[in-house]
Point group: C2
Chain length 112, copies 2
DNA sequence: TTCCATTTCTTCTACTTTGTATAAATTAGC
DNA sequence: GCTAATTTATACAAAGTAGAAGAAATGGAA
């Protein structure tokens, strides 16, 4: 319904990571992906909180997978990006790209 | 000091607008620029709050200009992007661009 | 002229949503 | 029962938002 909204900073990162990971996206893997890409430490709570909020907005969906046969194998909660999430991602990119381009054209860096 | 930080969603928009407006960036013009580019209504309070935060982080600087000779021509508070702000902008763009590219390459949309 | 309505812009206040850290709980193997 | 891999819960800080209030300037009516 609120498909007019912009994405927050971290929401964007999480959504991008889930999209990238395809069917393999779950809390821990999303965290690793973001850390790998941004180089900053990400607390696991931040990831799940954001994932939950994105799910409430209908941007991602989750289902609980079967437990895997490995030590500590608690069932994972897998996430997938929904069409609305993809649209939000593209809209955000479109606007930012346009503004960046604008900036490069104007190119007033203070040193003419 | 916290030059490792990411930019929030609205912070990015505001910074981009200030950069684009060069010497002409002040509260109201920043608001207009963002509305023009994003098509969404922006409350003036949001703009100033964000501008203040960016100034505290050293990403922009402000100075009060001279009043102009026109009706309602009250003195404006002009903002300019600082080097750190430019760096933050570029860093944010770099990371997002890399992630978007990743996504396009991987291109797993759920239908293998 | 002297006010005051009007315009343009900034500041303040109060509140919601996002972002973050850390501890606790759950489930499986060893 | 200890340990590992995950998710949940809790609590708080930071960012985003709306709208009213305040300030400074002009222009025109009285």
């Amino acid at each position: 319904m609120p498909d007019r909204d912009f994405l927050g900073e971290f929401e964007q990162l999480v959504l991008l990571a889930v999209a990238r990971l395809g069917g393999d996206g779950y809390g821990m893997s999303v965290r690793r992906e973001i850390e790998r890409r941004t180089g900053r430490a990400v607390s696991i709570g931040a990831v799940y909180a954001t994932l939950d909020r994105l799910e409430n907005k209908g941007y991602v969906a989750s289902r609980t997978g079967a437990p895997t046969a490995e030590r500590g194998g608690r069932a994972k909660r897998h996430f997938t990006v929904q069409p609305g999430g993809m649209r939000a991602l593209r809209r955000t990119r479109r606007i930012l790209t346009a503004m960046w381009k604008d900036l490069e054209l104007g190119a007033r860096t203070g040193s003419p």
